[in-house]
Amino acid sequence: MPEHVEVTINVNGRDYRRTVEARLHLADFLRHELGLTGTHVGCEQGVCGNCTVLVDGQAIKSCLMFTAQADGQRVTTVESMADDDELHPLQQAFKDAHALQCGYCTPGFLMAATAIAAEGRRLSRDEIREQLAGVICRCTGYSNIVTAVERYLDDVCGVERIDG
């Protein structure tokens, strides 16, 4: 009975080979097996989105994916962003817009926003809200988070913003 599964998972550009319990979800794998504690666990039932990471470039809730499913795949976490002490421009945008208070949800928002930015399209505030709806913040009230993402999309898409 394969209650344990051997996996090789590429996380932030590095391959990790581990033998894990079949029931171990990806968020716990990242935190407990790899020590990558930037991915936060809130509800473990797919509601809060704080554990959002990218798997092969797609935003997913890592508490709802078993580690065995990510075998052979490419996982990107919040640890991929900053370069030592230098924040990634998206993180800087969050800082500049005061888009975090306690910071617990921030990694989830950063990864969800990374997936949005990868689409290469500027979005209206309403569209940004819809795209970020899978992550819950209990401190800031979202407005500044939307502003941070909006400014970042303006920067990376390199065009003047049109209010929509």
Binding site: R23, D28, G46, Q69, A115, G134
Partner: protein, 290 residues
Amino acid sequence: MKSAPFSYERPESVQQALEILDQHGGMARILAGGQSLAPMLQMRLMQLSAVVDINRLPGLDEIRAEGGVTAFGPLVRYAAIARSPLVSERLPLLGHVVRYVGDPQVRNRGTLAGSLAQADPTGEMPVACLALDATIVASSVSGAREIGIDEFLVGSYATALEPEEMLTEVRFPVVPDSFVFLERNRKHNDFAVINIAVVGRRGSGGSWSALRIALGGVNDRAVLAAGAAQLLEGSTLEDDRIEQAAQSALEVVDPPSDVRGSAEYRLHLVPVYVRRALSMLRDGTEGGYA
């Protein structure tokens, strides 16, 4: 919470997946998107001996058009439905309704087939599939059978699928081109208090046919208001006929009281939403959160 232990199986074929389901005698489940299965396991609402991961099986994520039939494999995810030109051409209601499911992360993973197997009484997919008269293909080691969606949905989180069966396809016939979908939530992305899908075909003389009215959140499963639709067949959806249908729809509901709304509130909403949806269908207004 963490799931109880289970074994992880990664079959090489659908046949092998069916054999594993059979060997576990009802204690194994198919893992497709996992957006319902993983929470069920982690809340310990379900304990399994094995999880059968079909995510690497080729071809199961295809949407096929064969004559009048549009068929979805068990790995067709909401995000794929939302961007499929085939769906927007042949099943525009389905393409519209997926946007109400979960959130972007859930839609990246979750599947149409998984939602039907979960049979959440407030789920959007069962309501849409009832309105669109879907057929479910259930396969096991002893063969495949087809189940109409109305027989497939048995009750709250209960379907006609046997534990040793796998939902291998969802099929749709040619459907009427006009539709309205409405949903009421307490807050964005929450489970629905009520949702409704209506479809119909408007003839050249302005009279309506092929009407179907499906309601979610107001019984232990999504329900079809067949009597109400029958009352409207051949009409031009005049206000008084719509009012009759709205009252008739009450015959098929038996709403629960829960944290999202009382039975009384839902009973109040049923005729309101039937009336609203049918008027919008007649007037060509697009649905939405209401």
